[in-house]
Structure formats: C-alpha cells, structure tokens
C-alpha cells in the first residue's frame, strides 16, 4: 500500500469533504462571476451532486480513467484537475485545460485520468467502453469509469455499449448520475421503467441503485465495483440518486418552474451532500475548527485559481488553426 493510499484510507471522509467543498466553492464562484460576462460559455453546474463526483473519483486509483459529460466541473475537480486551469478554461484563456478551445463543456485533465467530456448526450459511453476494451487488450489492469446522466440512457448507444462490455467482460464501471431530469424532462416522462438500473438486466449487466447524496455510500459502493472490474469480473452499473440545484444550464435556479416536482427545493436542501458528510464527521468527533480550516484553505485555492484565470493571456487569434491535427512523429 502506497503512503498516499494509506493516508487516503485514514482520512477518506475528510478527503471526500474537501473534494466536495472544493466543487461547491468553485461553482459558487462561477455563479458570482457569471453576471460579469467573463465566463462566456454555457455552464452546467453540479451543485447538489458533489457526492457522486467525489465518491467516484476517490474510489478510482491513480491511472484509472474517467469519461464525463458537459456537466463536468465536479468530476474534473474531484479527479484532481488543476483549479486554475479550470477557471482559465471557463475564461477562454490560453492557460486553460483545453487552451480555451473547449470551454466548460469539454473539460479534460488526462494527467489525472479525466480523458474528456462531451456535450453530445451519451456520446462518450461507447468511447469509454472502447477505452476499457483497449485496457483489456493491453492487459493494463486499469479500470475505466463512464459517467453519465439519466438522460443518456435514452440513447441507443448506451444499450449497444453495455451489450458489448458484458459480452467481452470489460473492466468498466458505468455510473448513472440520476438527478431526476434531462433538461426539463422528468424520468417518468421518458421511461415506463423508472428503476433505471434495471433497464440493462436483460443484457446481463448487474446494476444497483444507491443514495448519491452520501459521499461515503458512493465511495464504498464504487470502490467495490472498481475492485471487481479490476479482478476481471466485468462491468457493473451503479445508479446514484441525487439532485440538481441549479437550472439545467446557467447560474440561476428554477425550482419554481412547472417541470420541477413541488418538493424539489426542500428535498435538495434536506439531502445536501455537504451537510450530510459534515454531520457524519461531527458524529465521529471531527472538530468544527478542523472543517473551518478546510474551508479557509479552499477559499484561498479558489481565489488563486480565479486570479490565475484573470491574469492569463487569451490565445492569439493567429493560433486559431493550431491543434486541428496532432503532428505525427
């Protein structure tokens, strides 16, 4: 066991808390900055869903790989993507994680295992599956995680990919982040079978549903799935139930809109992943001062990240043609 892993295990709960708070504070800053128009790109926020990103990311080992979606800030941060390069990307700066070309919807941090994010729903599910195929063919022992929403399972490629992954017993964990909505469409408006983890049972994919607002539950269940995939047991599907606090895209909230369930706001607040974990930490005897220190540290990190973005240069217009192809050799 590496020292890093040991430390991680000793302090899993505190690490989860730190990851989630980092996501929350970063996104709160995005909301605050948005009216200034410095972030000129649509943002799909993960506030309320931090436990999934944190639990899933922490359960993966160094070298494991994640494929995400346009709602990607959470997993980017939890996987350990550089915060400064995130804000720089939102600002469209040359120092951004995709040199200002991708924006909020196409975050990438291959150095920490975030392969990439796509704005076409479900489009990376087969890609992640292919990544797992490569892993199996090369005998690398790494695990791939495909992260997607409850809307993505509407697409045919989901079923086609799952079928192939089961057939070839690929080392992949499918993580279905169920926040109840695809834009303004509720799950029961799109599916008769609303226990989504059951949809692929007939294909031979084992699935389970869990509380996605308790980071400890996510971490534990994801860890087991990752371990099984690494042992060659093949894919599983984990459905995590959670809540989207903001509007589908943009910095505002829209709990008042007709598409929302009337109790959404109360439910969201009641199941705030940060409050749930903070309470658990308090029960285990963690002091308030300790959590406040974490918060202070993170506030500093976010300030520094924003300052980095602000002071970074824009890409030169002449560089527009760069990067379409990678030079061979």
């Amino acid at each position: 066991m590496s020292p890093r892993t040991a430390r991680k295990l000793a302090d899993v709960d505190l690490t989860l808390y730190r990851l989630m708070l980092r996501i929350r504070r970063a996104e709160e800053r995005i909301v605050a900055l948005y009216p200034s128009d410095k972030i000129q790109s649509p943002v799909h926020l993960s506030v309320g869903q931090e436990a999934v990103a944190a639990g899933v990311s922490l359960a993966l080992a160094d070298g494991d790989r994640v494929h995400g979606t346009y709602r990607g800030h959470g997993v980017y941060i939890a996987k350990g993507g550089d915060l400064g390069r995130l804000f720089a990307e939102l600002y469209g700066k040359d120092t951004g994680c995709a040199r200002g070309r991708g924006g909020s919807m196409h975050l990438t941090a291959p150095e920490v295992g975030l392969v990439g994010c796509s704005a076409i729903v479900a489009s990376l599910i087969p890609v992640a599956t292919g990544d797992a195929l490569a892993e199996k063919m090369r005998g690398g022992g790494r695990v791939v995680c495909s992260l997607f929403g409850d809307g993505a399972i509407d697409e045919g490629v989901f079923y086609e990919s799952v079928n192939f992954a089961v057939l070839k017993s690929l080392p992949i964990v499918y993580v279905l982040e169920n926040n109840g909505y695809a834009i303004h469409s509720r799950v029961p408006d799109r599916h008769k079978q609303t226990e989504l983890f059951r949809l692929t049972e007939g294909l031979g994919l084992r699935g389970r549903r869990y509380d996605g607002n308790d980071a400890r539950v996510v971490y534990k269940t994801m860890s087991a799935a990752v371990a099984a995939a690494r042992r060659g047991k093949g894919p599983v599907l984990l459905e995590y139930m959670t809540n989207r606090w903001h509007e589908h895209v943009g910095p505002g909230t829209d709990f008042q809109e007709a598409y929302r369930y009337p109790k959404d706001r109360e439910r969201a607040l009641r199941s705030d992943p940060l409050k749930i974990l903070a309470a658990a930490l308090a029960r285990r005897g963690e002091s308030r001062a300790r959590l406040d220190a974490v918060a202070a540290e993170i506030a500093g990190e976010v300030d520094a990240a924003v300052a980095f973005a602000e002071s970074s240069p824009f890409p030169r217009a002449e560089s527009l043609r760069e990067g379409l192809y990678v030079e061979s050799g």
């Binding site: 128009d37 649509p42 070309r101 924006g103 993505a152 697409e155 303004h184 943009g250 217009a317």
Partner: protein
C-alpha cells in the same frame, strides 16, 4: 394582403398554429417542445391548445425518434420534429439519409415521407465544438431531402408552412440569432414556394450570395460598402434544395463578381456548390475569380478572440468585397456584429 409585425420566433409559432388547426395530422415532437422555454417560444401554449397527443417531448433518442417520425409520416401523419441544436441531427443521419431521403425513389414513387425537421443552427456565445454547427451542405449533398434556411420572419412563416404541406422530407434550419428579428408577415399565414431566391438589396458592382444570418450580416456589409462607393447586390437563396440557380446567375450576369458567404465551412459546402454553379454556367459573366467566406476550417473554439476569428461577419464580408474590387478597406469604423444573444441557452 393584410400583414402584421412578428418576430422570427412568433412567425414560426403562427405558421405551426395555422398548420395544426387546419390539418389534424400535423403534430410536433422533440426535446423540450412542451417545456417552459418552448424552443424559443415557437411552441408556446401548444400543449394547452392541441393536447399532449399532438405536442410531445421525446426521450433523448434522435436516431429512433427520427425513424419513428418517418414511420408516422408513411402511416399518414405529418410530423414536425424539432431539435434545439442541429448538431444533434448527426445522430439521426441514418434515418434521414438512408430512409427518408430515399423512400420515394426506392418505392418507385409509390410512397413518400412528408416529414419536417426543424433544427436550430448558429453561432454565438461560447457554444463550442458540438453546439455551433450548420449542417446544410450535408443534406444538400444527398438527393431526396429539401433544405430551407429562412432569414426573415416572413420566410420562416411561409417556408415552414410550405414544408409541412410538402409531401417530401424537408430540413428547415433556423438560426439562433434570428429569433428576435422583427418583420412584416401575412396576417394569415400562406405557404411560400421553395426554390425562389430573394434579392435583398440591389447593386451593380458585385453579388453577395448569402442566406440566413449571413444574409443579415451581408446587408450590413452592403450598407457599409455603399457608404464607401461600392454597390453590392445581396441575393438570399432562402432554400438550398431546390436552389434558385437562375436568380444567382442573373445577378452575376449583372455585376460580374460573386462572393458567396455561408454560415458553415466552405469545403464541400453550400458555398462550394454555388461557386461551382458560377464556374459551370456563369463563366462568361465572371470579371474576377469567385470568392467564398465561411467558418474557418477548424473546430469551433470557445475562447472569445478565437471565436471572433472563426466566424465571418459584416466586417470580414466588407473586407472581402473591397479586396475583390482591388480597393483598400476604408479608414472608418467597420460595421459591428449585432449579437444581443446572451447565455446560458
């Protein structure tokens, strides 16, 4: 004819309402057609007015839903399938190009697919690689599909109605930056026939062929050009399939110079087709080589300075026109892109 003033979105709303009232087989489906945003307001109030059976949200299953629309069309209905971004049509290409486009021919003309696809195209505001594409040329390339790109509210209303009445599959591309454009439309919607270009502005020195939002930018450019002694004629094809070749050649014969501006890439694009038309049928009229403007041949970036360099606009159109005439760009403030679109949607 009695007219009223509507914006582009309202004109589409009026045409759809008219068609659905007149013909009970017309129905609207697509992601978000029943929500509070109502696809830029174009389907506002439809659920209340026409009921959920004729106005419905769909699962995010573009491939299957397009096939389902094709099947419904073959079964006697007139589906209007709406996509908030044209980029999502790439998931529907099999059904559109292998089935819908070919059905009439494959059946020896015994059946056709009266299907309308409404899809939103367009630049703006950090949409990036996968939310900014204008796929008109992909549909132009494959025989069997009609393609319309309305520019004004009147075009939008008349062409949508014509598309719904058409017994063939039609792709109607609506530009995101046009929804707030206001104009006169017939008080009672009437179909506008496909295949009729509109001369948006008369001129003598060069012809600018441009449609949709690029027609708007070209008109701004033409105004600027006029102030500096260049008379540009702006021809808007309005429909790309069928294409009003005669109107384009007529204008070229008059001015001798052709600049084609498209909202998409130039390679194998709508602009390439129009340039080829000039080479094949208008060669004797050409006093100078044809020029084209479109998106730069790269993936759409998010960053502002890159995004600005990526898309053509009134300024680059005017600059190209001056250059074609061998004249320097005047020392005057260039026309600005009017872009009142603000995110997040």
């Amino acid at each position: 004819m009695k007219t009223k003033r509507l914006n582009y979105g309202q004109a589409i709303h009026a045409a759809l309402t008219h068609a659905m009232e007149k013909d009970p087989t017309v129905f609207v489906m697509g992601i978000g057609v029943d929500d509070h945003k109502a696809v830029f307001g174009t389907t506002r109030g439809f659920v209340e007015r026409f009921g959920r059976a004729r106005v419905f949200d769909t699962p995010i299953s573009e491939g299957a839903m397009t096939g389902i629309a094709v099947g419904a069309a073959l079964g006697g209905m007139r589906p209007v399938h709406v996509h908030i971004r044209a980029d999502f049509l790439y998931l529907a290409m099999d059904q559109l190009l292998n089935i819908a486009a070919k059905w009439s021919s494959m059946s020896g003309g015994r059946a056709s697919v009266p299907l309308v696809i409404r899809a939103v195209i367009g630049r703006s505001w950090g949409q990036g690689a996968q939310h900014s594409q204008s796929p008109q040329s992909m549909f132009m390339h494959v025989p069997g599909i009609k393609v319309a790109m309305p520019t004004t509210p009147a075009d939008a209303q008349g062409l949508l109605l014509a598309a719904i009445e058409d017994p063939n599959p039609v792709v109607l591309l609506e530009h995101r930056l046009l929804y707030n454009l206001v104009g006169d439309v017939p008080a009672t919607p009437v179909a506008v026939p496909f295949g009729r270009a509109v001369v948006r502005r008369e001129g003598a020195d060069l012809t600018i062929v441009a449609g949709s939002h690029m027609a708007v930018e070209s008109l701004k450019a033409a105004e600027f050009l006029a102030k500096h002694g260049v008379s540009a004629e702006v021809v808007d094809p309005v429909t790309l399939v069928p294409l009003d070749r005669d109107a384009i050649l007529r204008s070229l014969a008059k001015t001798g110079r052709l600049l084609v501006v498209d909202s998409s890439w130039t390679t194998c694009g709508a602009s390439a087709e129009i340039a080829a038309l000039a080479a094949e049928k208008g060669f004797d009229s050409l006093a100078a080589p044809v020029r084209r403007l479109g998106m730069q041949p790269v993936v759409c970036p998010v960053s502002k300075p890159l995004e600005k360099a990526f898309y053509p606009n009134a300024e680059t159109i005017a600059a190209e026109a001056f250059s074609m005439l061998g004249r320097p760009f005047p020392d005057a403030p260039a026309p600005e892109l009017v872009d009142d679109f603000k995110g997040p949607f």
